[in-house]
Amino acid sequence: MKYLMLIHQGTAPTPRTPEEWARLSEDEQKAVYADYQAINQTPGVTPGLQLDSPETATTVRVEDAKTLTTDGPFVAVKEALGGYFLLEADDLDAAIELAARVPAARMGGAVEVRPIVEW
């Protein structure tokens, strides 16, 4: 099975939110880096590319053949996608276990596990 692991930061602090990030102790910050690194090195994981903050997003719609753009992500900023990676695993249990190791999941965010359709 292949899964796309969608990381939603929620209220989890990241280096992109310097004020909140600074509230974490040095050890906590190190743990976040170390955990993401360990995940990227887990067999079956293909790391995702880094996304800039949701505030920098532009949302595009087409109505009556006219392109409409709005500032910001499609969902609310707090619910926006923060990052992603690809996982190849035996089953959903393995994907859930890895998702639970993503720092955002324990710091106020969540990870959405989406199976990828294989033909």
């Binding site: 099975m1 899964y3 695993a89 035996d90 089953d91 959903l92 249990d93 994907a95 859930i96």
Partner: protein, 398 residues
């Protein structure tokens, strides 16, 4: 010649095991269910005429397997969907019953996987392991058949698409996952306890199967004991549409064989987990259920166990039960004080006010008791409960 009742009984007993074996073999819920249905339909037509085969289960599994294999051969897209890499030959001979693995436990853990919504877990468990029809489940949960059918289809689709495994979870996941399975069984039981007896009976069947499949888990026996003992009083719990309180129940309506079976299950649970009862909430509840049917009741011990359970579950409802037990043990003032302290959590819970009414009445505070009963009447939904409250209120006037 075999009568239809016996065929129906076999169906009921065998459905879960046959379906589990087929899912284990085919790796696809939908295909397995359709094949099982076909095999059972053929059996329903043939067995009454030709007699039940020596090994009904093996016959059903073999027939369903062959039907499924035929379908896969005809339908290549279906073949891609199921886990079979090479489609095996159909078997002419019936396989030996002992060669069919019992995969009901795998099925139970799959149906109760936390990635499925709770109502889907319940419906799927009743459909696959209990063999209830979609209509029966819909009726039991008071939803349109259509809604229930969609719920089941969606759940089966998710199991396949999301890769929910068909297995007993490994040790490090087992405690959480077993708790989820037990919660589903207990939820089915409680739906039945409110009056729909067939669901309670179904939950007990599932509990018995679990106890057979996981003989070393204290909570499995604890839950079975709890259900057996409570269900044994079912006939005595309602009279003429009114809920009858335990102390007023006609004991001749209790099923004492079933109480004895429950006691034995509790003994087994205690032997396995009795040293650390605080880890096992069902075990504690089963011990309480058994204490409740003993005569005379040991209210001090009942109060102590409710206290234990309240610490374990942090449930204000359990605290309320502790308050009742304290009052029954003789300290009505302290029971009432504990009940009063639950006001902020349970203000909308009619049992809180009904309990306060009863305790206030015992303390001779008739006006306060009346106010409490009236508040309970504002909140109560069930007619049987309402009529009990009105009775109690009437006793105050007298």
């Amino acid at each position: 010649m075999v009568g239809t009742t016996s065929v129906e009984q076999t169906f009921r007993d065998e459905w879960g095991r046959v379906l589990a074996a087929l899912i284990g073999f085919l790796g696809d819920f939908q295909l397995a269910e359709e094949a099982a249905q076909e095999a059972f339909a053929i059996a329903a037509e043939r067995w009454p005429r030709e007699g039940t085969p020596e090994s009904p289960r093996a016959w059903l599994v073999t027939t369903a397997r062959n039907r499924a294999i035929d379908r896969i051969r005809r339908d290549r897209t279906l073949a891609a969907k199921v886990r079979l890499l090479e489609v095996p030959e159909t078997v002419e001979e019936e396989v030996d019953e002992t060669m069919i693995p019992d995969e009901r436990l795998e099925l139970m853990f799959t149906c109760c996987h936390p990635a499925l919504a709770l109502d889907a877990q319940v419906a799927l468990t009743l459909r696959t392991l209990g063999g209830l029809s979609t209509e029966e489940i819909a009726r039991a949960f008071l939803v349109p058949t259509d809604t229930m059918a969609k719920r089941l289809v969606r759940a089966k689709g998710k199991i396949r698409a999301a890769g929910i495994p068909f297995r007993v979870p490994p040790d490090h996941l087992l405690p959480d996952r077993l708790a989820a399975v037990l919660a589903v069984v207990y939820l089915i039981f409680n739906e039945g306890y409110g009056g729909r007896g067939e669901l309670a009976a179904e939950a007990i069947r599932l509990g018995r199967a679990l106890a057979e499949l996981m003989p070393d888990e204290p909570e499995v026996h604890g839950l079975l004991a709890l259900m057996l003992v409570n269900d044994a009083r079912r006939d005595a719990r309602f009279a003429e549409g009114t809920v009858v309180l335990l102390s007023d129940q006609d004991r001749s309506l209790w099923d004492f064989d079933q109480i004895a079976e429950g006691r034995a299950a509790l003994d087994r649970a205690l032997a396995l987990g009795g040293r650390y009862p605080s880890r096992y909430p069902y075990l504690v509840q089963a011990a309480l259920a058994v204490l409740h049917v003993e005569e005379p009741q040991d209210w001090l011990q009942i109060a102590a166990l409710y206290g234990e359970l309240a610490r374990l579950t942090e449930s204000p409802v359990v605290r309320l039960n502790e308050a009742v037990a304290i009052a029954e043990a003789g300290d009505v003032e302290r029971g009432l004080a504990l009940a009063d302290s639950l006001g902020p959590d349970l203000d909308r819970y009619h049992y809180l006010h009904a309990t306060r009414g009863e305790l206030l009445r015992r303390l001779g505070r008739a006006a306060d008791a009346r106010a409490a009963y009236e508040r309970a009447l504002e909140l109560v939904h069930s007619e049987a409960e309402r009529s009990l409250l009105q009775q109690r209120l009437g006793m105050l006037e007298g």
